[in-house]
């Protein structure tokens, strides 16, 4: 029996980049894919982020036939009557940190084209690929150490290290004893309908505004994402969230005239119904074991905010192959030796994504995946815009009425700020350069709760400022302007 250095289970982006990297650095590598071709089992939101092209040279060679570059994204808001009330768009910032980020938001592709291309790069680098082969579990030597895998053809393959790139359900993670299935609160289910359309019709109706998010007070956040000759329309939420059939919520989304308009203007024909699970973790804790490394969804490396998975799978695949090479060099593939993997991913863009994990999860659960929050978030945003821009009254009257229009939302807004947004903001802040002094922290914690409620009460009682005509221009001139100048100069310096 031939023995390999490395076995990779799963031929998605994580597995292929692991196998490609490993083969390139001289490891005898074999990869298994249960589909007849890689990508045959996979569903995605279709968008590859600029990070994929920043961090992987080979990605810049990507030329897939049905790609659409998204240079604009639109967020639609609909309220508890299922009426779309608002839509906002954004495009790449001209100040974004690197060229690809300034050029596009995502490059939208199909997995049935991306995955085989990536797997081809792995085999071209020298990795062996077995398709139509399901791995049923890991095998163990006489001492109980993982030493390979068994396939559903009854064959055994041996290697010193096994990389599990086998998705949310990960047979490798479970059969090697790294973990059981995820908790339902850690996994989301995302279902969508794929439509086919003519390129020219999508060009006309959608163009490069190819990412649409549908935030609602009725259904969990939905999306319509467009590639060159097709598009996905769907939504998703935590698997433990659904109280009714997912179709109930999908139907509400499809009832929106804005969604129907997109389908009709593109002359879309429904081609395929799809569903898949993605992990939503606050902090991945089960990413390796004795002789086993997990990458991508198997490790729980999807971004907990937007569920982006492909980039994290590719990046962790690359790290896993390098760690495998180092461990084999040391002659030690124990979990202790492979702990290098966790240090590597924590110190990478993957780890960065999870710095704010718990706070991000709070925000996603509290607002993003929570139509109940939409019941007041959507009208609040709408009333703010309406208050500023409506022509139902004189603009003088509208401006004076603005605060009474928005005040009713204040308690819920502040509650949410306190519960979901403030922890997120605090968590995502850069740690201070100088450690805070314990005495000053204690003093602040003592004095602020005594002073602030008093100021709050006074501020809330203030009906009018008699001296407004004098103080407002002075505040703008002598406080806001110098503050803005100083802040802008400092931020410019920091970027340099």
């Amino acid at each position: 029996m031939k023995k390999y250095d490395l076995i990779v289970v799963g031929g998605g982006p994580g597995g292929s980049v692991a196998a490609k990297t490993a083969a390139e650095i001289g490891l005898e590598t074999v990869m298994f894919e249960r589909g007849t071709v890689p990508g045959e089992k996979n569903v995605s939101g279709t968008g590859l982020s600029p990070k994929c092209f920043r961090d992987f040279d080979f990605m810049r060679e990507m030329a897939l036939p049905h790609e659409r570059v998204a240079t604009m994204a639109t967020l639609h808001l609909s309220d508890d009557r299922n009426v779309e009330t608002n839509a906002f768009s954004f495009s790449p910032s001209t100040n974004a940190p690197y060229p690809e980020a300034r050029e596009f938001l995502t490059r939208n592709v199909y997995r049935s084209e991306l995955d085989p291309w990536l797997a081809g790069l792995a085999t071209a680098a020298g990795a062996e690929l077995h398709t139509s082969t399901k791995v049923t579990g890991v095998t163990r030597d006489a001492k109980g150490k993982v030493d390979g895998v068994r396939t559903d053809r009854g064959e055994e393959f041996k290697a010193d290290i096994v990389i599990g790139a086998d998705g949310v359900i990960s047979t490798v993670a479970r059969s090697s004893g790294i973990r059981e299935k995820w908790d339902p609160s850690e996994v989301a289910m995302i279902l969508n309908v794929d439509y086919g359309a003519k390129r020219k019709d999508i060009d006309l109706a959608i163009g490069a505004n190819a990412l649409h998010y549908w935030y609602s007070a009725i259904f969990p956040v939905g999306y319509s994402f467009f590639s060159a000759e097709g598009f996905h329309v769907g939504l998703g939420c935590y698997v433990d969230w659904w109280k009714k059939s997912p179709h109930y919520y999908l139907d509400r989304m499809f009832e929106l005239p804005g969604v129907q308009q997109q389908i009709k203007l593109c002359k879309g024909k429904a081609r395929e119904f799809q569903n898949h699970m993605v992990t939503f973790l606050t902090d991945p804790k089960t990413t390796y074991g004795d002789s086993v490394i997990l990458v991508g969804d198997a490790a729980g490396f999807a971004c907990p905010f937007e569920a982006e998975g492909v980039y994290y799978a590719m990046y962790s695949g690359m790290l896993a192959a390098r760690v495998a090479k180092n461990a084999l060099g040391r002659g030690d593939t124990s979990a202790r030796s492979l702990a290098e993997y966790e240090r590597a991913w924590r110190d990478s863009p993957i780890g960065e994504e999870f710095v704010g994990g718990e706070a991000i999860e709070g925000f996603v659960r509290g607002i993003g995946f929570n139509p109940d929050a939409g019941r007041w978030v959507v009208p609040l945003i709408n009333d703010a815009m309406y208050g500023l821009l409506n022509v139902a009254e004189s603009h003088t009257a509208s401006a004076r009425n603005l605060s009474s229009l928005l005040m009713p939302y204040l308690p819920e807004l502040v509650d949410t700020l306190a519960r979901d947004l403030v922890p997120l903001a605090v968590k995502l802040q850069k740690p201070p350069a100088r450690k805070p002094g314990a005495r000053i922290s204690r003093m602040l914690s003592w004095i602020l709760p005594k002073v602030l409620p008093f100021i709050a009460k006074m501020a809330a009682r203030q009906e009018e400022n008699r001296y407004g005509e004098v103080t407002t221009p002075l505040i703008v001139e002598y406080f806001m302007k110098p503050f803005a100048r100083e802040k802008a100069a400092r931020s410019k310096e920091a970027r340099r």
């Binding site: 249960r34 589909g35 007849t36 990508g39 045959e40 089992k41 996979n42 569903v43 995605s44 199909y110 997995r111 049935s112 398709t131 139509s132 082969t133 399901k134 049923t136 396939t151 559903d152 053809r153 949310v168 359900i169 047979t171 299935k181 995820w182 339902p184 996994v187 289910m189 279902l191 309908v193 794929d194 086919g196 097709g230 698997v239 433990d240 659904w242 109280k243 009714k244 059939s245 997912p246 179709h247 999908l250 139907d251 499809f254 429904a270 081609r271 395929e272 119904f273 799809q274 569903n275 898949h276 699970m277």
Partner: protein
């Protein structure tokens, strides 16, 4: 119109072997699998989850039923290599 019409839009190399099952001894009849499955492979009969007989022809292999099953009654494995769902436009 309901999106339920779309659940037939699935391409398959129908697996020959079973890859899912439910243990009625463990099933607590909570119905979470019935709710979550977007292609309606589960129903409750005598307060126990029952898998539709033609599930091999319709299952999307997402594993959501197995994932939500808190009593551990549902076993899920992928179909044999080369068989099962073929996602053409994932």
């Amino acid at each position: 119109m309901s999106t339920r019409e779309f659940v037939k839009l699935v391409y398959k190399n129908v697996p020959e072997e079973d890859f899912m099952s439910v243990d009625p001894g463990k099933c607590e009849g909570c119905g979470d699998c019935v709710v979550v499955c977007p292609v309606f492979l589960w129903k409750l009969g005598k307060k126990k989850a029952q898998l539709e007989g033609d599930y091999r022809e319709r299952c999307l292999e997402c594993g959501a039923c197995w994932q939500v099953c808190s009593s551990g009654a549902i076993s899920f494995d992928f179909p044999e290599g080369g068989k099962g769902i073929v996602v053409k436009f994932g």
